[in-house]
């Protein structure tokens, strides 16, 4: 089985989708000849032609707006927004149009559109390139938000996203693009959207994370397990909209303690929703208040201070330990 980075896994998945279904078209800024600024679409235009993989003018709203039209027409557009921080420009097209057209048309029309966008801190990008915008789209109705944490998941989730009859925002963490390789099957496979995965089993405390923060959570869990002998469960949310409430409730019902980790700002974030789910479904299992480890409620940290602000294993471990205090 080939070992792939996340970039290679996404590239592989896109190639298979282009191969499998002529309705799939991949487009965005610099995705053609250049193969994307992160080389995610490397070689795809040469292999599939300029009709299938093409560059657009530099206009995010234009990219998503035309993608909505193509999707309604019957194509399966896979649009790239070069950095998730630039989705702000396309917010209306994503939220009031792509996500809402099924509802607006009384169910007659659908928008099978995948919007891919890199995001996430820790890679020293200029301002607004790293922003974690997922919670904004979690609050929107009619769109799914998927955030893989590994090459294997990225491929399976992307295939599922392209197949999905509704719009999917597929956020790829830049720090994970080349940070490790993993065995990824060459053949096409799908992983269901809306399902979390237990990345590490434990029974004393549940840590919820996604994207690059999953790995921070896993390191913290390992540290606490080794140093304190505590059994820490780590759940990879994988899809933050719709959230896998069942998985969250099951884990917390078992452990009675919870920590949520994300690099997006705290207020109104994924953590807040996870805590609300715990509140609604298993409050009486809780032995301690739920901890949140996030960026503060301020603009995403600039490169010079991102190491200070981004949740790190020590900070997550400290939060886990607070929940484990008697």
């Amino acid at each position: 089985m080939p070992r792939m980075t996340l970039v290679e896994a996404v590239n592989h998945a896109l190639a298979q989708e282009l191969e499998r279904d002529r309705r799939v078209r991949v487009f965005g800024e610099d995705v053609g000849k250049n193969g994307g600024v992160f080389r995610v679409t490397d070689g795809l235009q040469a292999r599939f032609g300029e009709d299938r993989v093409f560059d657009t003018p530099l206009a995010e709203s234009g990219i998503i707006g035309t993608a909505v039209g193509m999707a309604v027409y019957g194509l399966r557009p896979v649009a790239e927004i070069q950095f998730a921080g630039f989705t702000f420009v396309a917010f209306n097209q994503i939220v009031s149009q792509a996500a809402r057209l099924r509802y607006r048309s009384g169910g007659l029309l659908s928008v099978p559109l995948v919007i891919r966008a890199p995001f996430g801190g820790g890679v020293r990008t200029p301002e607004l390139h790293s922003d974690s915008v997922e919670a904004l789209f979690m609050h929107a109705q009619g769109i799914k938000v998927v955030i893989p944490s590994s090459p294997y998941d990225a491929k399976g989730l992307l295939h599922a996203a392209v197949e999905d009859p509704d719009p999917v925002l597929f956020l790829e963490h830049m720090k994970l693009y080349r940070s490790f390789r993993q065995e990824v099957p060459s053949e096409r496979y799908t992983l269901p959207l809306g399902q979390a995965a237990v990345a590490r089993e434990g029974d004393a405390v549940s840590v919820f994370a996604y994207g690059a923060m999953l790995h921070v959570a896993l390191q913290a869990a390992e540290q606490v397990a080794q140093e304190d002998g505590a059994s820490v469960e780590v759940v990879d949310l994988r899809t933050i909209s719709p959230l896998d409430e069942e998985c969250i409730a099951q884990s917390v019902s078992k452990t009675g303690r919870a920590v949520v980790v994300h690099e997006a700002a705290r207020a109104g974030g994924v953590g807040a929703e996870v805590i609300a789910v715990i509140n609604e479904r298993c409050l009486y299992s809780l032995l301690k208040p739920v901890e949140r480890v996030t960026n503060p409620d301020m603009p995403f940290p600039l490169p010079s201070v991102e190491d200070t602000f981004l949740p790190n294993p020590a900070r997550v471990a400290a939060a886990i330990r607070r929940t484990l205090e008697p």
């Binding site: 078209r25 009709d51 657009t56 003018p57 206009a59 709203s61 234009g62 707006g65 035309t66 993608a67 909505v68 039209g69 193509m70 999707a71 309604v72 027409y73 019957g74 194509l75 557009p77 209306n92 097209q93 009031s96 149009q97 057209l101 099924r102 509802y103 607006r104 048309s105 009384g106 169910g107 007659l108 029309l109 659908s110 109705q141 009619g142 799914k144 999905d164 009859p165 509704d166 809306g194 719709p242 959230l243 409430e245 069942e246």
Partner: protein, 352 residues
């Protein structure tokens, strides 16, 4: 410059109904059908405003004054072509095959599932100019499939200030998409006059700026609008790319039933444009051509009024929208969250 700026306003009929240009080669029954739709649009709009005043429907945006542009821009389209517009394009949508009842339903607060899919219209747009990008995307899809079909994308003068309008022209130009943009310049974006939307003399001048021809047409002249759009549709169908058309018209009514134009509009202007009302202009032409007489016109008005009466009766006889059904319109399949929220609502309503 490949595309010269439009220097003249295309016109076939003078405001008094006299022929001042070459009339399009349309058979009598089509000319009469055009007129019928124009009258239908006027009476429909008036009826909807009356219903709103009686609290029987929600806020409605009248289309009075724009009947010629609305009918003319939709007339050249074939069934497989798409038409994408905003709430001011209701009459264009009807001409394209969306049922007047389906449109009325949306104003009564039902979900818009009454559209005929084969009419090829998107739900009329609320967030102005966003629809023009969708229109370009549809055109790019047709082009990709090698189909000879085209799209007409419509918006008003206010929407041309939005980024999406300009991005749409740009994408269409770059990809040479088979689309015709029609701007219904009715002079006002609610209370803001056209001169405060752009310092340019004509919106159509943006055509050449985006690498496509731009034409200005008398929007109250249904034959002129038809001709210009028909030519542009033929260009697009032949693979020669997009066209921008600015139809100069006027909103004789309020922006919506929630608006009072007396606050911002001068009586002089209203008087001037009332004299250029598209309906009497075309009626006079048809009568001059012996295609219509006062008796036939009266019968037509009566027939439409009866049709509208029956439409309103059907509309009001419908059972209320079932709130539980809405949970099925968010995603192809209800999420676990929506399942629970739906069950909660049904329990609250005592239905489960």
């Amino acid at each position: 410059m490949p595309f010269p700026l439009a220097h003249c306003i295309h016109q076939v009929l003078a405001p008094d109904g006299k022929l001042v240009g070459a009339a399009p080669d349309l058979p009598a029954d089509q000319l009469f059908a055009m007129y019928r739709w124009m009258v239908y649009g006027r009476l429909y709009s008036d009826r909807m405003v009356a219903l709103q005043r009686q609290g029987r429907i929600g806020t409605f945006g009248p289309l009075n004054g724009q009947e010629a542009a609305s009918v003319g821009l939709a007339w050249p389209l074939q069934p497989a072509d798409w038409l994408v517009g905003s709430y001011r394009e209701l009459l264009s949508y009807m001409v394209k095959g969306v049922s007047p009842l389906a449109l009325a339903e949306t104003y009564r607060g039902y979900v818009g599932d009454g559209y005929a899919l084969d009419a090829h219209c998107l739900p009329y747009q609320i967030v102005l100019a966003t629809q023009v990008l969708h229109a370009v995307g549809i055109a790019m899809g047709m082009q990709y499939d090698g189909k000879p079909d085209v799209v007409v994308g419509v918006c008003g003068d206010g929407a041309t200030s939005e980024g999406d309008f300009n991005e749409a022209l740009n994408f269409a130009g770059v990809f040479k998409a088979p689309i015709v943009f029609v701007v219904q310049n009715n002079g006002w974006a609610i209370s803001v006059p056209r001169r405060q939307q752009t310092a340019a003399e004509y919106i159509a001048h943006r055509g050449p700026a985006f690498g496509m021809p731009g034409y200005v047409v008398d929007g109250n002249d249904v034959l002129a609008v038809y001709q210009v759009v028909q030519d542009a549709v033929a260009r697009a169908r032949a693979g020669d790319g997009p066209t921008l058309i600015e139809a100069l018209t006027y909103r004789l009514g309020a922006h919506t039933t929630a608006d009072d134009p007396k606050k911002y509009r001068l009586d002089d202007e209203l008087g001037e444009w009332t004299a250029r009302d598209p309906l009497p202009r075309f009626r006079t032409y048809l009568m001059n051509q012996n295609l219509l007489d006062p008796t036939a016109d009266e019968r037509l008005h009566e027939a439409i009024a009866a049709e509208l009466q029956s439409l309103v009766e059907t509309l009001e006889a419908q059972p209320p929208q079932d709130a539980a059904d809405l949970f099925d319109l968010v995603y192809a399949e209800r999420t676990p969250q929506l399942n629970r929220q739906r069950a909660d609502l049904l329990a609250e309503l005592g239905r489960e």
